[in-house]
Symmetry: C2
Subunit: 157 residues, 2 copies
Amino acid sequence: MENKEEFMNQAIELASESVLKSYGGPFGAIVVKDGKIVGRGQNKVTSTKDPTAHAEVVAIRDACKNLNTFLLTDCDLYASCEPCPMCFGAIYWARIKRVYYSATQHTASHFGFNDGWIYHEVALPIENRQVQFIPLLPEQGDVPFKIWDTKQNRIEY
Amino acid sequence: MENKEEFMNQAIELASESVLKSYGGPFGAIVVKDGKIVGRGQNKVTSTKDPTAHAEVVAIRDACKNLNTFLLTDCDLYASCEPCPMCFGAIYWARIKRVYYSATQHTASHFGFNDGWIYHEVALPIENRQVQFIPLLPEQGDVPFKIWDTKQNRIEY
C-alpha cells in the first residue's frame, strides 16, 4: 500500500515550495505511520526567526501534535535531504523507525548549509570544537538528576 | 559585571523546577547577552508532548523570539547539563558564542537519558547506525537546492 517514492516526492515538493514562498531553506519532510501522512514540515528558519525550525523538527512536532504523543515509535520520516545533527537528534529522541532521504549532507554543504561542518564538530572531543564548551559548577549539576531519581510517577522518555 | 556562577545556578534551578512541577526531564538552560538573560528554557518533552522541547532548544527559541532574530551570535548559553546532539546542532545553527554546562552527558546517561548513545550514533557511518537511514530518489533531491541557488533576495542562515 505504501508508496515510498510518492512520499519522497511530496517531501521534495515541500522543500521547493519553502524556497518559492520564502519560508526558509530548501528542505521538506513528511512523517508517515501505517502508510498515511501524519506530519509535514518545511524549513521556516528565516520566516519564523527560529533556528530550530528545520523541516524534520517541524514535521516531528506536527506529527506529535496530531498523534498526541512524544513518541513516534512506528513512524518513518521522509526528508528531502539527509538530516543535520540537530534533526538527527530529534529523530532519535522521537524514536522514529526509519529515515528515507534524497539529497545528502554533502549537497547541503555544497549549497552553503553547514550540515557537514556540524557533523564534523559534533564528533570532536569537547576541547577541540570551534564553539567553546566550558564546564562550570560541575558538582551542582547532579542535583536535578537526584530529584528526578527519587520522583514518584515520573514520565520517562 | 557578568556573574557566570549565578547564571548557572539559575539554569540548575530551572532544571530542578522542571522535575518538581512535572514539566519534563531534569534540564534547564539560560541564554545570556551582554550580561542579561534574554531567554529561558526548561525541558517540557512530556508535558507538551514534544520530543524536541529540550531546555536548550526552548531557551534558544525563547531568546530568538525576545530578540526578534534567528541568530544569537553574541549570546552565551548556560545549560544545567552538557547539551545532547540535537541541542548541540541547535546551538551551532543559532551561532551561540560559548556554552557553559554543569553536569555531563555521562551523568545524563547514568540517570537514563540517551545522550551518550546518540553522541555515539551520530558519529557512525550511516550504514552502521541502529536507526536505518535509506537513500531514496537521490537524483531528485537536488531540485530544491537549484531553485534556492537562483533565488533573488534569498535570506541565508
